[in-house]
């Protein structure tokens, strides 16, 4: 029997890996992957809490499915934006994207 804590440790590591990646990656695609890591860690948490604490109910599982669907759509939008940025600026380095200020 795998304890609940092990799942939570994995998801916490994923979460902070994602946050670290989001802060440090130079490339927009890498940042997008980091965001996906954060989202997936949260999905794991939902599923784990549902499985161990409220086994007779299904809200947690469905919320995970819901979040996966949303994140798929969100990724599509983000990639579309990134493609447009590339078309306009010929690169997707985040340090060059400072047009939206002041």
């Amino acid at each position: 029997m795998v304890h609940m804590e092990y799942y939570l440790i994995v998801s916490t590591i994923m979460m902070f890996v994602g946050i670290y990646g989001f802060f440090t990656r130079r490339n927009l695609l890498a940042m997008l992957i980091s965001v996906e890591l954060i989202l997936n860690s949260v999905d794991i948490n939902f599923a784990v809490f549902n499985r161990f604490l409220f086994p007779e109910q299904l809200e947690g599982f469905f919320f995970s499915l819901f979040a996966i669907g949303i994140s798929a759509a969100e990724t599509a939008v983000a990639i579309a934006i990134i493609i447009n940025i590339y078309r306009n600026m010929k690169n997707i380095q985040v340090k060059n994207l400072d047009k939206m200020k002041w």
Partner: protein, 630 residues
């Protein structure tokens, strides 16, 4: 008599139609619509009068007051409500005839006078508005409805005085008329509110217990209402707008500033007469003194003016003074005992409306012919415009009070009422009647006889006016000839009973003598080509002449009070406070916000990852705070 609602509805519809679609219509069509509607209103008014007076008196010997149409418009609770409706009683029916008849004549006349003017359709639309509001004023069932229409006539007067809105003087005159009358109407409104608050109704005839409660304040309320009436009727010192109002088109002066709107103040006092006579006779007598002074002042000023329309304007002010005096000298509601003035005032209102409209329309023909208002451009015009000459002469004789024209009868009744009040008032008003004869014939001789301005007339030969302008002249002259024989006392009197007018020949012979003296003096001074006598007198009393020519500097006094005292001592500090303290505080708030924003705007760097770090830091901080709190 429900059809009387049409008397108000038709001109209103015509106003809407011409106002909205005027520019789409050809001028002739627009004028035709306005004129046909007014003709229908006139026919309806005459029919109303015919059936109202034809229905006869009730058991107690008075004409019943009818309310054929009434609706509660604005209930305030506590039994106080503003109604809109139509009330027919002898004076309102009389006014219906006066207004619709003069209005119809002016509509016809304007076809000729305003031909080819820019805004012809707009002109007819405003005329319809005025006709509707004035008719609404006289048939009002209560004082508040009267006030509403009172303001509407003020607006239409403003619009029509400023009809030539590209002309600077016309714009100034329209503003002056509006502001002065509006200022006076403030008194009227306060009077109405006091009246409504203490009697608990806006009715002209409140119940006896309601009046008992308000007895102490009724004189104040009625006095304040009279201030409104004095503004509209150009009583001294609120008369200053009327001479300037002559900047409007001449038919408008005839309709609004001679025959109908300016007598609204007289009508108001007549409407409140039962209350005045029972509860505020002192205030009523004050109005008599105001009226007498105004009549004298305006008559003196009219003697020296050189603009023919201004002479007529001051003559109007003077004649309205006569009407107010006639009302003011009443001492009881019984016409045999001292209430004669009421009938006399209404009679003079009726006859004056006809002959003064005639004078103004005649003046319009003259101005049309010589393209100037100044007497110096005229003289000797009798050869060129015989019809205008004859009708003008009829009107002049009538206003001078010569038997058997209408003015004689009504003025004689006024003088008789004045003599009954006090001999001094009678003598003063007789003297003013003589002055009236003098200045009217000075005007007449200066236009039609005297020294002709040959140079101008050769360059542009004066011609008789077209038929559309002369027909109203002939009609009004005919009315002026016969109106005096109407047994007016049988229709209108202070107690509602039939009253036989019998001419008091001692008063009448004196007034006839004075009028004849005034006419002869004017003939002697102004008939001939050289005016040595008149010029000699003007030079001899040059100070008086100049003061009278400048209307005794009343306008300058107003100018001084408004500019030097009110503007400089009150308005300027208030404006400073507004600009520096009120606006200053708001400007300070805006300036501080702007400074702070400039200081922190660098935080928006555009780098997403820097924002994310701030976000994470904030989230962690919150978590720590929450953990510590637990």
């Amino acid at each position: 008599m429900e059809y009387t609602i049409l008397i108000l509805a038709l001109p209103f519809l015509s106003f809407i139609l011409l106002g909205l679609l005027g520019t789409k219509l050809r001028p002739g069509v627009a004028g035709g619509i306005g004129t046909i509607v007014t003709a229908a209103v006139a026919l309806l008014s005459w029919w109303t009068a015919f059936s109202y007076f034809g229905a006869g008196r009730d058991g107690s010997g008075v004409f019943q007051t009818l309310i054929p149409w009434n609706t509660v418009w604005l209930p305030f609770g506590g039994g106080l409500h503003i109604d809109l409706g139509i009330m027919l009683d002898p004076i309102s029916v009389m006014m219906l005839i006066v207004i619709s008849t003069v209005s119809l004549m002016v509509h016809i006349y304007s076809f000729g006078y305003m031909k080819g003017e820019r805004g012809f359709q707009r002109y007819y639309s405003f005329l319809s508005l005025f006709t509707m509001s004035m008719l609404g004023l006289v048939v009002a069932t209560n004082i508040f409805q009267m006030y509403i229409f009172w303001e509407l006539v003020g607006v239409s007067s403003y619009l029509l005085i400023g009809f030539y809105y590209t002309k600077k003087e016309a714009v100034a005159a329209s503003k002056k008329a509006f502001i002065v009358t509006r200022f006076a109407d403030l008194g009227f409104l306060i009077g109405i509110l006091i009246y409504g608050f203490y009697t608990g109704s806006f009715s002209f005839t409140p119940d006896a217990p309601a009046i008992g409660a308000a007895k102490a304040l009724l004189p104040l309320a009625l006095g304040l209402m009279f201030i409104g009436g004095a503004g509209k009727s150009a009583m001294f010192p609120l008369h200053i707008w009327l001479p300037d109002a002559m900047e409007g088109p001449t038919p408008v002066s005839a309709l609004i500033h001679a025959a109908t709107m300016v007598v609204a103040g007289v009508y108001l006092v007549a409407r409140m007469f039962p209350l005045f006579i029972d509860y505020a006779p002192g205030v009523l007598h004050v109005t008599a003194y105001v009226g007498a002074f105004t009549a004298l002042y305006a008559a003196v000023v009219a003697c020296v003016q050189s603009d023919i329309k201004r002479v007529l304007a001051f003559s109007t002010i003077s004649q309205i003074g006569f009407m107010i005096v006639a009302l003011g000298v009443c001492t009881s509601a019984d016409p045999h005992e001292g209430g004669l003035g009421y009938m006399a005032s209404m009679f003079h209102l009726f006859t004056h409306a006809m002959f003064k409209a005639l004078l103004f329309l005649g003046a319009g023909c003259i101005i049309h012919a010589v393209h100037s208002n100044e007497m110096s451009a005229m003289g000797g015009l009798r050869k060129y415009m015989p019809l205008t000459h004859i009708t003008f002469l009829v009107a002049c004789l009538s206003i001078a009070g010569i038997w058997p024209l209408s003015g004689f009868f009504s003025k004689d009744e006024i003088l008789a009422a004045c003599f009954r009040f006090s001999p001094a008032m009678g003598v003063l008003m007789t003297f003013i009647a003589g002055l009236t004869a003098f200045y009217m014939f000075r005007l007449y001789y200066s236009i039609f006889w005297g020294k002709e301005n040959k140079a101008l007339h050769q360059e542009h030969r004066p011609h008789e006016a077209p038929l559309s302008m002369t027909i109203p002249l002939i009609f009004l002259a005919a009315v002026t000839l016969v109106a005096g024989w109407i047994p007016f006392g049988h229709f209108v009197s202070s107690d509602g009973m039939a009253y036989d007018i019998h001419i008091d020949w001692t008063v009448a012979s004196v007034s006839l003598g004075v009028a004849a003296a005034g006419i002869l003096l004017a003939t002697w001074m102004y008939l001939r080509e050289d005016r040595t006598v008149a010029d000699g007198l003007a030079a001899r009393f040059s100070g008086l002449h100049r003061a009278a020519y400048h209307r005794f500097y009343i306008d300058e006094v107003y100018q001084f009070i408004t500019h030097r005292i009110i503007f400089a001592c009150i308005s300027a500090p208030v404006a400073w406070f507004d600009r520096h303290v009120v606006d200053g505080f708001m400007n300070m708030l805006a300036a501080v916000t702007e400074k702070v924003s400039w200081g922190i705007r660098k935080m928006q760097s555009g780098y997403v990852q820097r924002y994310a770090i701030w976000f994470l830091g904030g989230a962690l901080g919150l978590v720590i705070v929450l953990l510590l709190a637990i």
